[in-house]
Symmetry: C2
Subunit: 341 residues, 2 copies
């Protein structure tokens, strides 16, 4: 007793299959009488149209794929939500997949997307991935790199100027009287992390103070932040940085907790700045200063850019412009770094 198809519906309603198809896709083209009979048949049979059949015939789906590292980081879940809203308004469904930073999973999902004939793909990744995206573009599936600026001119991307974000964080700390800076983040090969550090270094150089101490970590999680924070709290005050910039809010929140638990006053003894400005940064008991990546437009812009790529085809843009949007981040100053001079 396999599920009924459009044929069974047609037979039951006493009409041709083409008519049933018309009813489903262009209800206005079929007479009221038949529409009624068809609706009845569908109901009685419990007919559900098969998207596989439809997709096979049409050659495309109404799916867009979204590959992100990790939805448990509020930064990504906030973007995901926005993407879903925007795509929905454009009649598309989003197929979410999470790589958890694993390269194999990334590959597997990208391939799955292609097999499903998604119309386009949104990709957030901490790994070099442009070559793979270029190959998919060749085969007709466009993509937008989210969160990092693409090197290849032909690869659309939506990103934050992380160097600028890092510089703002650094300048802010310095302006608040910090002279002994530290950067907590990693792995350093990750472009976004490296850029943020670079920006901070630039600020230090400009102010002619020592470059930040780099505390590299393998993972940006609360637990790791906590561990690093405990280490800092354990140092004698003289050997402790007085201004810390974390690559990430999640990391920063862990740091903050361990510092305070270790008896270090924030922002008094250590001023702290995070990155992403996620929801929980603002909700902390000592609200966290953070570099905001304008979430409001970010996900939506990615979707829009993807649609542009879908329309324009996958070649270079006719107008020669590159489709790479870079947002200027904004420093949101809160208590964790606000110091009386």
């Amino acid at each position: 007793m396999s599920r009924p198809g459009i044929r069974q519906v047609a037979a039951r309603a006493g009409v041709a299959v083409g008519t049933v198809s018309a009813y489903l896709n262009h209800p206005d083209r079929v007479s009221a009488e038949r529409a009624r009979r068809i609706a009845e048949a569908i109901d009685e049979l419990g007919f559900v149209p098969s998207s596989a059949g439809r997709q096979l015939r049409l050659g495309v789906s109404s799916l867009i794929g979204y590959l992100s590292p990790d939805v448990s980081n509020p930064h990504f879940s906030e973007i995901a939500q926005e993407v879903e809203y925007r795509a929905e308004r454009l009649g598309m469904t989003v197929f979410f997949a999470h790589s958890h930073g694993d390269r194999e999973r990334e590959d597997a999902y990208l391939e799955a997307f292609e097999q499903r004939q998604v119309r386009g793909i949104l990709v957030s990744s901490f790994q070099p991935i442009e070559a793979r995206l270029a190959a998919m573009r060749e085969r007709g599936t466009p993509s937008v790199l989210v969160g990092r600026r693409a090197c290849d001119e032909l690869q659309p991307s939506v990103s934050i100027d992380d160097v600028s974000g890092g510089r703002q964080a650094g300048e802010h700390l310095i302006a608040n009287g910090c002279r002994s800076l530290a950067f907590v983040g990693g792995p350093l090969p990750v472009q976004q992390v490296a850029d943020r550090l670079d920006g901070m270094r630039t600020a230090a150089v400009a102010a002619s103070i020592d470059p930040p101490d780099v505390i590299e970590v393998a993972e940006r999680s609360i637990a790791v932040g906590r561990a690093v924070g405990a280490g800092l709290a354990a140092r004698p005050a003289a050997e402790r940085p007085d201004g810390v910039f974390a690559a990430n809010d999640v990391l920063a929140l862990g740091l903050l907790q361990a510092l305070v638990a270790g008896g270090v006053s924030v922002p008094g003894e250590v001023a702290l700045v995070g990155y992403d400005d996620n929801e929980f940064a603002e909700a902390s008991l000592i609200p966290l200063t953070s570099v905001r990546a304008r979430h409001d437009d970010f996900g939506a812009a990615a979707v829009d850019l993807l649609f542009e790529a879908i329309e324009h085809g996958t070649g270079p843009r006719a107008d020669g412009a590159t489709s790479q949007r870079v947002y200027e981040p904004e420093l949101i100053v809160r208590e964790s770094s606000r110091r009386a001079h």
Copy 2:
């Protein structure tokens, strides 16, 4: 220049289409020589198998659907992650969709799942939805209700005993000397919320103290928690409850921030307990006491139950047992409610 199909590959490799199919699905059944030729052809043509064609022929996909209200709540994203891991190990891909509490969206996604012929569906919802799930079960798509115990015997579910959780929270507050309780949560028609409140009431009755003051809210978010917290902080100390139980960690974190900002000492003047034990509850500067819903097994159990339903068919279970797992929650005591007596 449509994408090449298995036929073009066969032609190019000089073999029959059946052989290419065999190569793709049972590589051991084709001779080394042909395998080589086919691999070559696939490479040259950039062939990507169409999952639509495959699914059409097979009649099933390797998808399971997961409908949840909102991935920006860490509670759900933690479950989602677990579900994805478990499903992956079983060779399934998870199709995520988010209802954002909207009934229409819920409907639309459930229908989309069915059209895609998912093997089964995981559903978290705050609305009554069992009737719809029953209809889908009739048509051959099993589901597992996640987070709330199903009323219908035939509907598998994985849930937490929310009444017990509420009772534990209440008893704990009382044991810590609180005599004037309050419950913050809502909307009350939501089963999970009502159950938690019920449990707390039970505890109050058992201890012969006044039942909790109920502060109903329309939405469980940080912002709402903050607003309620500000309201409490503004009251004269005598009119303020000394033990507050929030339906949700997100809500609790908002409350906590506003209380402290309003000069109310936590846990000194107000002891606070949340629910879900999400990652950020533990990471708060005043770590939040919370009722933990054993995330470790939760998502995995849901997937396992779904698979059982898929195997067993969609009728009542042969052994007559109902497939409803109820977990006993565990109170994790942290500083936000720990009081010196």
